[in-house]
């Protein structure tokens, strides 16, 4: 092998390689910076990007213009957050949610929102996630933490470069060709107000939910052994990490969402009904010492007995989501130590009524 020809030298090869590689990597990085599929540098509400909550929540929390943050799991994913904007004058809300969001992920998003100085924070209290131990954030860290190396990783990340940039550029083109006249599914997937919603793929009907449940699809499995102790520990740790007393200028709203009566029936069947239903009272006891905290409960809404409002055992429709958002700051739904027992009794009655009405098909 002769590699010492007069025309080509190894030093020349190295020079051409180095210049080419640096140029190419610069162009690749620049493309990611300009397109910015995960909103790490800017958020343009007009752009039509595919918004995967796990990848964009960090950028959205850091770079979107908002004064109210709603943080929560799939229970709030069907929310069209524009309802809050339209209901409450001056409110600029953002929804930071993702399916199966655990407490570590909530805390991570909360820390970003807190750092941004947002004064109005709504947090969805999804009880099953308080019954987990040893949870860690599953979000890609480089999209949530600051630092030069994280930004560099983003600019050259597989997800951005290979998956989302081509998809986003293709979608932009598609939008232009179709002149914005696109199926709802694409509009929802690219709308910041509806980020993460799967309502386009859901069937909200009692018959569907009934068949879905009877086919063996239920809810996230819950370990019952030592549940109470585990939930107490999670709650104590969660509230401590929020450091509410250090942020007296922030208004906190903790929201208990509307689980279906079928869900409550399922918890009764698997022996954790009382732990879950009693959790609201424990939560209140934990936070009532803070003047800047409100707890609202939609657990006892009448709609929970009507499965037409649900797409599965737990997740409710955008219609019920709208009602919840409209009443988010309605004092009627605030709960405290003096009315929490009445609220839980109402849930109890609603669940009893539901079971009585549906006893012909509910599994024994």
């Amino acid at each position: 092998m002769d590699i010492s020809g007069k025309k080509y030298t190894s030093k020349g090869f190295l020079t051409v390689f180095s210049i080419s590689a640096v140029t190419l990597l610069f162009i690749i990085g620049l493309t990611c910076y300009v397109v910015d599929p995960f909103l790490q540098f800017r958020v343009d509400p007009k752009s039509r990007y595919i918004l995967n909550p796990r990848f964009v929540n960090g950028g959205l929390a850091k770079n979107y213009e908002y004064n109210t943050a709603l943080i929560g799991s799939s229970m709030v994913q069907s929310f069209d957050i524009s309802t809050l904007r339209n209901t409450y004058q001056g409110m600029k809300p953002v929804k930071l949610s993702s399916g199966g969001m655990n407490l570590a992920e909530m805390e991570l998003l909360y820390s970003i929102v807190q750092e941004k100085g947002v004064k109005n924070i709504i947090m969805n209290v999804d009880m099953p996630f308080f019954n987990q131990a040893g949870f860690v954030s599953r979000y890609p860290g480089y999209l949530y933490e600051d630092g030069f190396m994280n930004k560099l990783q983003y600019l050259y990340s597989y997800e951005a470069q290979i998956q989302y940039i081509p998809a986003n550029l293709g979608l932009e083109l598609y939008f232009k060709i179709k002149d914005g006249n696109l199926p709802d599914v694409y509009k929802m997937k690219t709308n910041i107000d509806q980020i993460g919603t799967e309502s386009y793929a859901k069937t909200y009907s009692a018959e569907f939910v009934k068949n879905y449940y009877l086919a063996g699809n239920s809810v996230l499995y819950q370990h019952v052994e030592h549940m109470e102790e585990r939930m107490d520990n999670s709650l104590t740790s969660f509230i401590a990490k929020l450091e509410i007393d250090k942020h007296k200028d922030v208004d906190y709203t903790f929201m208990f969402p509307s689980y279906s009566a079928l869900y409550w029936y399922h918890t009764r069947k698997h022996d954790y009904y009382s732990q879950f239903l009693g959790f609201a009272a424990k939560f209140i006891r934990m936070v009532e010492k803070y003047d800047n905290v409100r707890v609202v409960s939609f657990l006892d809404r009448n709609e929970i007995t009507d499965l037409n409002y649900y797409g599965d055992v737990t997740h409710f429709s955008p219609a019920l989501g709208d009602t919840i958002m409209t009443n988010m700051f309605n004092p009627k739904y605030e709960i405290n130590s003096s009315n929490v027992d009445a609220m839980t009794q109402r849930v109890d009655s609603l669940v009893d009524a539901f079971i009585e009405k549906n006893k012909d098909w509910l599994p024994k």
């Binding site: 092998m1 002769d2 590699i3 010492s4 020809g5 080509y8 030298t9 190894s10 030093k11 020349g12 090869f13 190295l14 051409v16 390689f17 080419s20 590689a21 140029t23 190419l24 990597l25 690749i28 595919i50 995967n52 796990r54 990848f55 990783q153 050259y156 990340s157 597989y158 997800e159 470069q161 290979i162 998956q163 989302y164 998809a167």
Partner: protein, 477 residues
């Protein structure tokens, strides 16, 4: 540490290269070797520091035994040293790799309840153990002389080949380590090494890890696959394994070359083989060579008659199966290769009359189908997949799109199907029809500007795949 990562490519490798060659004019070869050994141990212990002591003990015991074998004046002492050394290696491998497999089978067979242990397989143990047994054998046969301790430690730990081969024999590299001119930076070698390192990087990070999406989805639930999806899933794994391991070997060869060390070739277009016999001369070549020295020759090779030769051949492949993993899937995989190898030995002349293309086709078909066993978690899973491929209830091409499923971004089904078939067609072209493999390109390398630009393109594409790359498949063996 994994080659195709930011930390290795942008930090570890440049730092080691700069330090190693930077000090070459000021210190002796031994100091440079010490640095390289230290770097190799950092490389080895980066993810699991706890096993650095294990490799150091293994090296120490082997070195002492090899010295004993060489210096023994009495035959008995020589034999004791040799047998102790070999037994030590076998026991080490046996405990870390086969203990649970053995106990599990005892429990199944005799309905006992011996407790399985939580043993983490030390990285590359199969590779450095084989390397050291082969070395003991060659010292015992007086084919090798025991070098200085630093040269020996470097021979085992040299990071380009430490965790997944090529399985290097002392005669491959020892004189190169000891050659004084190799300790100085050589631009020609560096550039040539860089070239094949980038090819390997691309093969692993871009090709193999893309194919991994398809094969992982296929083997996740073999029972749910259609006829078409099962075939494409099996094909995806066949190509993935090749690009993964040959990519690693290319990178190892490239890294060695950067340090002026020529490592042996490990892959040479194996899927173009006309027989299983030829396949093993092109696939994981250094393993075949090791098994020849460690199993075939000690069993008598071809010196004890035809039947014994056939048995010895089968034994080599049986051990090869076990070497790859402590599971019945691997044992079956190795045994199948052994049976076909014996079949080819018996019908050698008749097979020669079959047209080459037909032979290549059936050899590939066998290799690919046998790899279903290699990849499956259980024999039952493999049989389910093989049944769908060869005796399907319905010939259906549905759900091919599911092979491209990922939780990050879903494309429409049609696009995903086109993606799967398109990628496999492109890869097939490079495997079967592209006139030169990476070793040819490496051997014929000329530092032309267009090759430099092409290398830069491949490097840049590989870099953006780093954030998703998985560990090399052969790290598990």
């Amino acid at each position: 540490m994994i080659f195709s990562t930011y930390i290795f490519t942008f930090v570890f490798l440049p730092v080691v290269l700069i330090l190693y060659f930077g000090i070459s004019r000021y210190v002796s070869r031994k100091v440079q070797h010490l640095l390289l050994i230290f770097a190799s141990l950092v490389f080895y212990g980066y993810n699991h520091i706890s096993y650095v002591w294990l490799i150091l003990i293994s090296i120490s015991v082997n070195y002492i035994m090899a010295t004993g074998v060489q210096n023994a004046t009495r035959l008995l002492f020589r034999k004791i040293c040799f047998v102790t050394g070999v037994l030590f290696n076998v026991c080490l491998l046996g405990y870390y790799k086969y203990y649970n497999f053995f106990v599990d089978n005892i429990n199944t067979l005799f309905d006992t309840h011996f407790v399985l242990r939580q043993i983490i397989l030390p990285l590359g143990i199969s590779f450095f153990t084989f390397q050291q047994i082969a070395y003991l054998i060659s010292v015992n046969k007086k084919q090798e002389k025991v070098p200085g301790v630093l040269d020996y430690v470097l021979f085992i730990t040299f990071f380009p080949q430490l965790v997944a081969g090529p399985i290097v024999f002392s005669q491959d590299v020892m004189t190169q380590y000891q050659d004084d001119k190799n300790r100085f930076f050589n631009t020609d070698n560096f550039v040539q090494g860089l070239f094949i390192f980038i090819i390997g990087l691309f093969k692993k990070a871009v090709v193999a890890d893309t194919l991994n999406i398809f094969s992982s989805n296929a083997f996740f639930d073999p029972g749910s696959l259609s006829f078409g999806a099962a075939w494409l899933g099996s094909l995806a794994y066949t190509f993935q394994l090749f690009f993964d391991f040959s990519g690693y070997s290319d990178m190892a060869i490239g890294l060695g070359k950067m340090f002026n060390i020529n490592l042996p070739v490990n892959f040479y277009s194996p899927y173009k083989s006309k027989s299983i016999t030829e396949f093993w001369k092109r696939w994981h070549i250094t393993l075949g060579r090791s098994l020849f020295v460690l199993i075939y020759i000690p069993l008598g090779g071809n010196r004890k008659g035809y039947a014994r030769t056939c048995f010895n051949l089968f034994a080599v492949f049986f051990v090869s199966g076990l070497w790859h993993g402590a599971a019945w899937t691997f044992v079956l995989w190795g045994s199948l290769h052994g049976l076909v190898r014996v079949f080819e030995k018996i019908f050698d002349k008749q097979l020669d009359k079959v047209p080459d293309l037909v032979r290549i086709f059936f050899t590939f078909l066998f290799v690919s189908s046998a790899l279903v066993l290699f990849r499956s978690l259980t024999v039952n899973d493999a049989l389910i997949m093989l049944k769908t491929m060869y005796i399907p209830d319905v010939i259906s091409f549905n759900e091919i799109s599911h092979l491209a499923f990922n939780t990050t971004l879903a494309y429409p089904d049609m696009m995903q199907s086109i993606f799967v078939v398109g990628i496999l067609l492109i890869v097939s072209y490079f495997v079967f029809l592209f006139p030169k493999n990476s070793i040819d390109l490496y051997n014929e390398f000329k530092p032309k500007p267009k090759i430099a630009i092409m290398s830069a393109v491949m490097f840049s594409i590989a870099v953006i795949h780093f954030s998703k790359v998985g560990a090399f498949i052969y790290f598990n063996f």
